[in-house]
Each structure stands twice: as C-alpha cells, then as structure tokens.
Amino acid sequence: MPETSIKSRPVYGTLAPQPGTRHILLADGDGAAAIVDLARAAPPEFFERAHIITAPAAGAMAVRAPLRALAPAVLDETDRLAAALSRLAEVLAGAGMGTRLYVAGTEGTIGQAMQVALDAGVELGAIATEHRGSRARRVQCAHCKTFIDEVTTQPVACSGCGLMLFVRDHYSRRLAAFQGVCVDAEEPGSAPTPEEVFT
C-alpha cells in the first residue's frame, strides 16, 4: 500500500563537509559508516573542530573503532539514542552561528536529532542528513497520540490503543514522526495483514 509521495516526506542526502567553525556529528549504529565516508572528503582540520556523538546499540564495538580513528576534538559515546539526543541538546545550548550539524542513521534518529537541533535554533540549512540502515519509521497514532518506534510493517497495530494504523508518508518535523491513521474504522477487523515494508 504505497502512498504517492507527499511533500512532507523528508528527503535525505549524503553527508559532505561544509564550511563551519564547529562540526557536530551524530550517528546511530547504522549511521556511523556515513561519518567514516564523510571523513574521506574532509579537509585535514575538519576533525579538529568536530564533536562526534554516537548511539550504537550497546556492545556494538565494531562501529566505534573507525570513529575513534578519526580523532575528533570530542567523542561522546552513548549506547542509547535518548542519551545521545540529550548530549546533543547540551552541546547546542552553548553553540554559536557557524555550527554545522550532520546526522546519519535511521529515519527515527534523523527526525529526533533534527527536532532537538531546530529547538536549539539551528537553521535547517545548517543541518545535513544521510539515511543509513533500516527504513523503520517512528509513527504517532493519530487517535491516541502514542509514539511507536521502529515500525517496519504496513499497517501496524498501535501499541497504545490497539487500532490498526496505516502509516502515511505524512511526516511531522515537530513530532519527528510519521502519522498513523486507523485503516479499518468503517469495518473493524477488515484491515489487511501487516507486511514488512519499511526495511
């Protein structure tokens, strides 16, 4: 059940070094490789002004070594996205114009990091994003407002109210989530069987 593309559907690019006085890079386990790829094109002094915040799943040591090898000015390793995001908020609270943000990973990671950045006053134009890894979505149920993380199926059962939700391409930057609307409102039980689509 693909939905024909909607304007609010986010578009992601490829991380590339930008001019800036300070570079903050945030990646989850899937996104770490995008930072390593960016490093190939970065001028030598880039990482002297770089602050990397990572949130790979606990124990995923394999992604850490290559990032350490980049020798950024600061490296904050966390193992939960929530911890990485609060670190990002702290760092941005003391940041000035000239700060560039680079975010890589799943849509959930990108969306939530952007939300923190926009709240801190970072302009959209100073944020670069690259999608890596699973296409799992963060969805908000339009009915009970519960957020459901890591959604891979269409439709999906809401973990809050149990309704079967159709995951729309409509994305809210403010909520950092896609919208899920009830599919079988007319005839409960008529929802199609969930299929893995966001992988």
Binding site: P19, A95, G96, M97, T99, E123, L124, A126
Partner: protein, 319 residues
C-alpha cells in the same frame, strides 16, 4: 505601478548631516497610511520639470506609526537627480505622490537574534527594523559603520533610543567594522541583515558563508538606486515608436514618460516586476539588476528597465 498611488504632504524636513535629510510624509487627507513592516520601501514620485522621477526609499519610521512615513535621503550629486530634487525642491508643505509600501528585505520572525549591519545611508531600513524588534521584544544588535561621526546620520538618536544595542564603527577613528570577528561570536539562531554599499554587503555575506552561516540566515537589501549612464534609444515593437532615454533617466522612467508604462515595484533591480522581453538587440545590454540569472543574461532575451541600460545601435522591446 499596480496599486494606485497615495497623495502625501511633506510635514517635516530636517537636515541631519550636510548630506542627509529626513522627511516626514503625511496623508494629504489626514488619517492613516498603509501598514508596513521593517525593511519596507516606497517609491516617491517627483515631477521635475518635464521629467517625472520615481525613486525608491526605505521607510525608517516605526512600523507602529502609520500617521506618517519617514524617509532619510542622502544627496548624490552625480546621481540621476532624484536625491538632489528631494534636497533642493522639497520643503514642508510640498505635495508628493508615493506608491504603496513593498518589502523586499523582510524580517525573519523565527530568528532568535537579529544582527543588523549598516553602512552609511544603508541605516534607514534597519532603523525601522530596530523599532519593530524593540516593540516586539525581539533581541537585536545594530552595528553602524561610517567614515566618521559626522557621516553617521541618525547615530545619536539611535544610541539614545536603543542604548547598548547600538554599536558604531568609524573608520576615520581607526575603528573599522570587522565583519569576520563580529560574525564569529553570534549565538545559534542569529539572522544577519545588511544594508549599505555593495562592498560591505559582499564582505559580510562572504565572511558569514566562510564561517558556515546557512543561506536562510542571510538577508541583504538588494535594490540599489539606478546609476546614470549615456543616453540611448529603445524601439517599442507594438507601436513602432522610439523612446529616448536621457543620461539621468532610467529606461523605466523614460517608458513611463512616453506613456508605455511597465509594472514596477522596487525600481532597483531586485524584485523582477519590470522584466521586459527583448525582441532584437544590436549592441550590448548593460544589466545592472540582481534579478536575472547569468544564464538569462547570456540568452539576451530579457532586461530589467528599472536599472539596466543599453549601448549600441538599436534595441527593440516587446512593448
């Protein structure tokens, strides 16, 4: 001009510096003028003998006061004559016609802080912005660069009104405005607004970009007064008529005077309103606008008559 013009009476004229005068314009029939926001400008119509001139001036009064508009005019003795006319011929009681205000240099209300940079008479739109920020309680800082205090029109009143938010930089006193260091220490969410000589605006933008400021946070006044030039003629394809453009007249003014008006808004090469198709050109279009892209200029099919001129044998416009 699309909206009908407004009749105003000059209620006050003050010499602020030897080169700058301030004018207050009030509606001829009393009441209020249309609302405007910081950064807006108006076109003032002047009947100078046989010439009808229209010059764009930024509004520098408070956007909260619509009982009158305030403009600051610097006299340019080798300009086309509009500023000289304002200085020499306009006195309290003079009746003028003005266009509705338009804003090509708008404020971005989402900014956390507004950093205003003025060079010389470029201060005028920034004064209206400062008034608006002060009224709305939005943080701002105004930096005013001029040669010396005598050249810095309105600096004293600004210091008095906005106190520590105002910073002056006088090059004759060895305190040149250092764009790069100023821009390097701004908090996240700052937006930059520059108005002044092209060189200052270019320098500020180049510094900001090099430091990593994103484009959305950069704003500059784009309209510039049309320059004088050599006289030339244009041919109007539809009527076959020939219109002469004088040395101190813009092509747009000449077309208006000839009864072949072209829509206009900024009258300074920024808005795109006056875009006119070129049907034949045996010579060189002297583009002076900020609107057409390099590709459009290269193609030679369009011209912005408010600021651009022509040199050569013949130019035919789709008018």
């Amino acid at each position: 001009m699309s909206a009908p013009s407004i009749a105003v009476r000059v209620s006050e004229v003050a010499a602020v510096t030897p080169l700058v005068k301030r004018f207050r314009l009030e509606p001829e029939s009393g009441g209020r003028l249309p609302a405007f926001s910081g950064g807006a400008h108006i076109a003032v119509e002047m009947q100078d003998g046989a010439h009808r001139r229209r010059n764009a001036f930024s509004l520098m009064g408070s956007p909260s006061d619509t009982t009158g508009y305030v403009i600051g005019v610097r006299r340019h003795d080798n300009g086309r004559g509009g500023s000289r006319y304002m200085h020499e011929r306009v006195t309290p009681g003079t009746m003028l016609r003005i266009a509705h205000p338009a804003n090509l240099f708008p404020i971005d209300g989402r900014a956390r802080k507004h950093l205003l940079l003025a060079g010389g008479i470029g201060i005028t739109p920034l004064v209206a912005m400062a008034e608006q920020f002060a009224r709305d309680g939005q943080p701002f800082e105004l930096h005013y660069a001029a040669r010396s205090p005598e050249h810095a029109a309105f600096a004293d009143e600004l210091l008095e009104r906005f106190g520590p938010a105002v910073h002056t930089h006088f090059s004759a006193q060895g305190r040149r405005l250092a764009c790069a260091s100023l821009l390097a220490e701004q908090p996240l969410g700052t937006h930059l607004y520059v108005c002044g000589p092209e060189t200052l605006m270019d320098e500020a933008f180049a510094s900001a970009r090099a430091l990593g400021w994103p484009e959305q946070s950069l704003h500059r006044e784009r309209f510039a007064a049309p320059a004088r030039g050599l006289p030339f003629a244009v041919r109007l394809a539809r009527s076959g008529r020939r219109v002469d453009v004088g040395a101190d007249q813009s092509m747009l003014e000449a077309l208006e005077a000839a009864g072949a008006p072209v829509a206009s808004l900024c009258r300074g090469g920024a808005c795109g309103q006056c875009e006119t198709r070129v049907l034949a050109c045996d010579g060189t279009l002297l583009h002076a606008d900020h609107y057409l892209s390099a590709a459009e200029r290269g193609a030679g099919g369009k011209v912005m008559p408010c600021v651009s001129r022509f040199a050569g044998r013949s130019l035919t416009l789709d008018l």
